[in-house]
Amino acid sequence: MKELWRNAHVKRIATIALIAAVVTIMTGPEGNGAEPTAGFTGSFASHVTFFGLFTAQRWLVALLMTVVVVVLTWSVRYVNRSWSDRTHFRGQAVQAMTSMIQGSKRRSKFKSTRYVFFAIGLVLAIGLPHVITDNSWQTQIVQQILVYVLLAIGLNVVTGFAGLLDLGFVAFYAIGAYTTAWVTGALPTPPPFHTHLNTFFAIPFAIALAMLCGVLIGLPTLRLRGDYLAIVTLGFGEIIYLFANNLFGITGGATGTNQIPFLSVHLGALKYQWGLNPVPYYYLTVGFVVLFLIIFSSLEHSRVGRAWVAIREDEVAAESLGINPLKYKVMAFAIGAASAGFAGVVTASQTLFVTPPTFTLQFSINILVLVIFGGMGSILGVVLGGLFIQIFVVYLEHSPPSGYNSQDLYMYLGALLVVMMIFRPAGLFPSRRRRREVNQIKAGTAPDALLTNIGPHSRVQEET
């Protein structure tokens, strides 16, 4: 029996079957405390309909899935073995795919394809409201997609560029939203100055305040090592939530406020009033997304960006070269917070209310998933990953398949995080630098700092 279990083939089939079973249960119906087995049995016993065309028992689908995947992995292995150089084959496939996305590896060409991509994206973004004319959809696009993309490119600066795992990123988003409410006089606290005419000033004000809070939160916490930083930022995220929820006299407490006016600008000849129509908000947000994209990508290749990379890779070495790690880490925090602050303004002023339940830890994790999925440190990847996941999420919310509950989303996102870390840690569209790091680690030629981060590891490669 033990011999059988040691057999690699048996092991693989068992693993695949287990994964198929888990996926089947994940997509199955819900259970509850009174009948705890309902969810499990229902997942296998009930029927599933594909595209309204044909119906099948769920357990049969699971079985079929297992068989197909087993056959597929076997054939792939067979092909690989006969190919003689497996890594070569795989490398070519990956290269072909990424060069399709990012253009050739040569720098000049690479850059021009990127500009072409950027231009196409911009044209699509400008044309979109003329294609999707339904107002509620347009609102969804701003609130569910663009705001998330904004937050993701902000978190990308912190986590992707500087390598700091911030689990409380939602705090800056909350600060942006509450600042908007504060500046426009919607909170119980009196506004800092009289801006009832020019609510547009909420934008620079919120961005500045979010950046300031980035510095204030960053200064004590960024001295800590990576894993401590994660848990402390998580703590700050929770503290901000608790304060927002409980300081009734300042933030409006659990009910928040719903008195926020639309954005408006009255500066001499320039007069504009944003309103119920989501299209102006859409263009405003797209404009800021583009602005942040330009700023962040030029930062990436600047002196500051190089300092971030150095710190991420080896803090001690970076320090010995005269880089002040704390300074640059705090900078990353503040700069990342800027886009989150603006995202807060968009949410607050378009939906006209802020309430604490928006700003939970789950939100931070959601943003983290977007960054990880697209590729840490790759701006293009994060934008594409964010668009992809959020479009999918909006679709799921709009037409949920049977057995899907909107609260299940985080289950899938959590599973996605694990799967990404196991199979594609650099993300779907990795930055060139990350890709090189991963390849180096695979080949065992990485600088020591990348290899010895973790205490014990057997240096023996797994034989597959």
Binding site: L224, G226, L234, E238, L361, Q407, L417, P456, H457
Partner: protein, 293 residues
């Protein structure tokens, strides 16, 4: 008295940290799984009946065992799925944190989906009476249970790590994994056992914690964060430190009830955590699973 629960959960953090130099973000879900397992067992065993004294004790032991075993199994699963593949690939530290967070999110939302997202009150295996009164403070059955179980668990774990061959293996890996593997210690197995030991205590703690407050799929988050603060307070990687930190944090929290608004009571642990990390990052007893334990 929550101190014992924090201590038991903190042990899980500290042991994993000792061998891997990593915070196991999914530990809160081990705690929650143990609580759910014993919740269902209690439902079957106790139901609506009122158990006699002997039955109470037997049920308690059964609940502790099932909570611990399920905690250990979940811990093993997390190690296998979220940690081992990354270890094989020499992944950077950030990758472990992210995959552990993912595992944590997956597990608790999965439990929420399968067992409902409302708070379920547990069928307590005993009736909670005041046993005796000391200095005007009444001591209830619940406190005695926690105290007895906590002391037994913590002492036996301490002995296990300090004296047995297994414990020697754990300490060896914590001190220097590569050398330990040269000396014939099976690293993968040692790490798995470490996760399971921590998971067992975490599961038991989950059961004890849930007796008065019931179970809900998000129950792991707050106690786990506090336990982590406790582990850091005592000196992460240090078993005795985790116990000391847990008990100390329990006391600090009980006292701060008098000074802090109830809504902010959870903030106290964070403040302790941040202060400790800023002024004495190695904790009270220092980081040293390898040397003393």
């Amino acid at each position: 008295m929550n101190g014992f629960i924090y201590a038991m959960v903190a042990i899980g953090y500290t042991m994993v940290y000792g061998v891997l130099r990593l915070i196991n973000f999914a530990h809160s879900e081990i705690f929650m799984s143990g609580a759910f397992a014993s919740f269902f067992l209690m439902k079957v065993l106790v139901g609506n009946s009122t158990p006699t004294a002997v039955e109470s004790i037997l049920y308690l032991i059964a609940g502790i065992l099932i909570g611990g075993v399920v905690g250990a199994v979940v811990a093993l699963g997390i190690e296998r799925v979220a940690y081992r593949p990354l270890r094989r690939r020499h992944a950077p530290k950030l990758a472990y944190l992210i995959s552990a967070i993912g595992a944590s999110y997956f597990i608790y939302n999965f439990v929420g989906k399968e067992f409902g997202r409302i708070n379920l009150s547990i069928d307590a295996p005993y009736t909670n009476n005041t046993v005796f009164t000391i200095f005007g403070a009444s001591v209830q059955t619940y406190y005695i249970v926690i105290f007895v179980v906590g002391v037994i668990m913590l002492v036996s774990l301490e002995r296990l790590v300090a004296t047995s061959k297994l414990g020697r293996g754990i300490r060896a890996v914590a001190q220097d994994a590569e050398t330990a593997s040269l000396m014939g210690v099976n690293i993968d197995r040692t790490i798995a056992v470490t996760f399971m030991l921590g998971g067992f205590l975490g599961g038991v703690a989950g059961f004890l914690y849930s007796i008065p407050v019931g179970v809900v799929y998000t129950m792991g988050f707050t106690p786990a964060i506090k336990a982590f603060s406790a582990a850091v307070l005592g000196g992460i990687g240090n078993l005795r430190g985790a116990v000391l930190g847990g008990l100390l944090l329990g006391v600090v929290e009980s006292f701060s009830v008098a000074f802090v608004n109830g809504a902010y009571i959870d903030v106290v642990a964070f403040v302790v955590l941040v202060l400790v990390l800023m002024f004495r990052p190695t904790g009270i007893l220092g980081e040293r699973l390898g040397r003393s334990a």
